[in-house]
């Protein structure tokens, strides 16, 4: 391959991005993951909105992971107003989050990354060769969406979550009706692990700094402390901005995240799995063992195996939560509106999602800050391409281009999410 690699419009990612790799005398001279998704100014127009509107507005940052935005924002606002939620509300929020993981991971494993692994351009052509694979994926995805609908009224931008809990407890019979489907989903997820573990991945490893939420008692998704694989220290959400910085760099024209030490870091399923394997449910650990998975996994392409294992985890957890769902007590905690500041962090399917708000005594938002997972991974994606591109330079141009695209797709980039991303101006020689 002698030409520059240019992918003007990345396919099978959420949002709009491009890759540009410039060669000079056969060496990589420049690497850019370009984002031309227009900025939408969410933090700007959240100002002077009433706090209870925030979960509905931030959901619109991303159509694939609206629940993540709702969960990080309600936790931040509850912290700001000193609201304690009940165990039952927390359990229902976890079930809602599981539903989003099922829908999002099934989509990514089978319809976004899967076609790359199986030599197809899309799940639509894959369906011609392996209809059973695509039908299984669609059924799994449908179960996630059905659970989202049962709890939140609809699968995209669900409407039931609020600061304090839920506007109303979802109807028990709608949730119990999904138990048989969830039992099937656990089996389908176990098969997904076998399927993902049996594939041959491109050989590529990086010495990543993984960052994810962690809890001693459960595989952290809804809440927890922020753990780094390099420092081995966990910090509370209020200290996130002391350790992880965003900068608006002119040469790339986008907000980049780095640790305070200036290093790139990696968020997402691989980070969670590598950091929190011990907290996985027994069925998930057994699936990992029987598939011969050994940790740490430092190959980003194998994020697919991590997603498969997480599918087992969330399907099995959703099943347990659906079986035990029997709400009593208020669906929404009573509280007084008061001035304050709060931070909330949860694990979106594609990685850590941080929110911070300042609220005045009338409950109006004075300040909002949102750090989405893809913005945090952005610098890491470019660092990966610097290492990975030389490895594919000898391939035919089309194959090299596809390999680089595949690498970016493994991150499940949610470019619409990354509201900080700007139009990128590229200077070419």
């Amino acid at each position: 391959m002698k030409q520059n690699i240019e992918v003007p419009a990345l396919a099978r990612v959420e949002g709009e991005g491009a890759i540009y790799i410039r060669l000079k005398n056969g060496e990589i001279a420049q690497v850019e993951v370009n984002i031309y998704e227009p900025p939408r100014f969410f933090e700007g127009f959240l100002q002077n909105r009433y706090f209870q509107e925030v979960p509905d507005i931030t959901a619109r940052i991303c159509g694939i992971c609206p629940v993540a935005y709702q969960m990080s924002s309600v936790q931040a606002l509850e912290q700001a107003m000193s609201v304690q939620i009940s165990d039952e509300i927390r359990a229902l929020r976890r079930m809602l989050y599981c539903a989003e993981y099922i829908e999002s991971h099934a989509l990514h494993v089978y319809m976004l990354q899967g076609p790359d692994m199986l030599g197809h351009e899309s799940a639509l052509t894959l369906a011609g060769e392996h209809p059973e694979v695509v039908k299984k994926a669609l059924r799994l995805k449908k179960i996630g969406n059905a659970l989202l609908k049962a709890i939140g009224g609809r699968s995209v931008h669900p409407v039931s979550s609020c600061v304090g809990g839920f506007y109303r407890w979802p109807d028990s019979k709608n949730i119990k009706a999904l138990i048989a489907d969830l039992e099937w989903a656990v089996q389908a997820s176990l098969e997904t692990v076998q399927f993902a573990a049996g594939l041959t991945y491109p050989e590529f490893e990086m010495d990543y700094e993984y960052v994810a939420l962690t809890r001693p008692d459960e595989y952290a998704i809804y809440d927890g402390e922020i753990l780094s694989s390099k420092t081995h220290q966990s910090i509370k959400s209020v200290d996130f901005e002391k350790s992880y910085l965003e900068s608006h760099v002119k040469h790339s024209n986008a907000l980049h995240s780095h640790t305070t030490a200036g290093a790139t870091y990696f968020v997402g399923p691989l980070a969670r799995l590598n950091l929190n394997y011990n907290q996985l449910r027994p069925v998930t650990k057994a699936a990992a063992e029987s598939a011969g998975v050994t940790l740490p996994i430092n190959n980003p392409f194998k994020g697919m195996i991590a997603r498969g294992l997480e599918l087992v985890e969330v399907c099995d957890l959703a099943l347990e939560l659906a079986r035990s769902y029997n709400p009593t007590g208020p669906s929404k905690m009573p509280f007084k509106v008061k001035a304050g500041e709060g931070t909330g962090v949860s694990e979106a399917p594609r990685g850590l999602l941080y929110h911070r708000y300042v609220v005045n005594e009338q409950g109006m938002i004075q300040f909002a800050k949102i750090t989405p997972p893809t913005a945090q991974n952005f610098a890491q994606m470019e660092a990966d391409l610097w290492q990975f591109a030389p490895q594919v330079l000898d391939l035919k141009h089309e194959e090299a281009t596809l390999a680089c695209e595949h690498l970016i797709r493994t991150y499940d980039p949610c470019i619409s999410c990354a509201t900080h991303f700007l139009t990128l101006k590229v200077d070419r020689e």
């Binding site: 939408r40 639509l124 609809r154 900080h420």
Partner: protein, 260 residues
């Protein structure tokens, strides 16, 4: 015979409306056998050259480049569908239309001078002729399916536009305005979501946009009377479909009431 070609485009948006197409889990493979998704980047890598029979556009116009792109797309597509409230009314990002972009940019970006953005977020129909609008934030996936099927069958799509308030009555959902004193946009909002907000014990927030023949004056008076804090009704009307003309008029009416 060649299959009719469909192109799906994204402008400023969250991807949720395109995702609604992929969320047609039971129908997607049949749809893909009936039409050719010739351009649909969220779903596939392969693209076929235009022109296309049906263009589906998600998102609003917020950058100078998007103005140029929508003109090209209009030329490429025989029938153009604006998909979702961003495409039909400018979406949530049209909140910028009520302030100054420079104020917003400073609050989000340390170096706003790097931005290339318009002062407004506008609907597709404000730039090119749109043949069909499908409202919703997000759209109802079955309305998308209905639109595609109707086009193939050369009939008019059945997309009801009556106020969602009627759907609550049909479903037997207790009125949240009457029973709880909760503000609700249902009397003025287009049907399509299934009246899910009142069914979940809260008021409608108007994400399916204005219903053409609603009683806006009466609604303004009721909303103003039920407010729990000053400005609640204005914020409710000025949210996901706030740039739609009828909702802008509703805000004007509300502001006159508040001045009184």
């Amino acid at each position: 015979m060649n299959k009719p070609t469909v192109a799906v485009y994204k402008f400023s948006s969250c991807d949720g409306c395109q995702l609604s197409i992929l969320n047609l889990e039971d129908e997607l493979l049949d749809v893909a056998n009936t039409v050719e998704f010739a351009f649909f980047l969220e779903a596939r890598r392969r693209t076929l050259p235009g022109p296309y029979d049906i263009g589906i556009v998600e998102g609003s116009i917020t950058t100078p480049h998007e103005i140029e792109r929508i003109l090209e797309i209009r030329n490429q597509c025989r029938f153009l569908i604006a998909l979702g409230t961003c495409a039909t009314a400018g979406g949530i990002q049209a909140l910028r239309n009520f302030g100054k972009v420079s104020d917003l940019a400073i609050s989000v970006y340390p170096h706003p001078e790097f931005l290339h953005t318009l002062e407004t977020s506008t609907a597709i129909a404000e730039h090119v002729k749109v043949d069909l609008e499908i409202w919703g934030c997000p759209v109802n996936k079955y309305q998308v399916l209905e639109a595609i099927m109707a086009l193939l069958q050369k009939r008019k799509p059945q997309l009801p536009a009556h106020p969602v308030c009627l759907d609550c009555k049909r479903q037997g959902t207790v009125c949240v305005m009457n029973a709880q004193g909760t503000l609700c946009m249902g009397p003025a909002t287009r049907s399509g979501c299934g009246a899910i907000c009142p069914a979940n014990g809260r008021g409608c927030y108007g994400c399916f946009g204005p219903s053409p023949n609603a009683e806006y004056k009466n609604l303004a008076l009721t909303l103003a009377r039920l407010e729990h804090y000053p400005g609640e009704a204005v914020r409710l009307a000025r949210s996901f479909s706030g740039h739609a003309p009828q909702f802008r008029e509703l805000v004007d009416t509300l502001e006159k009431i508040e001045v009184k």
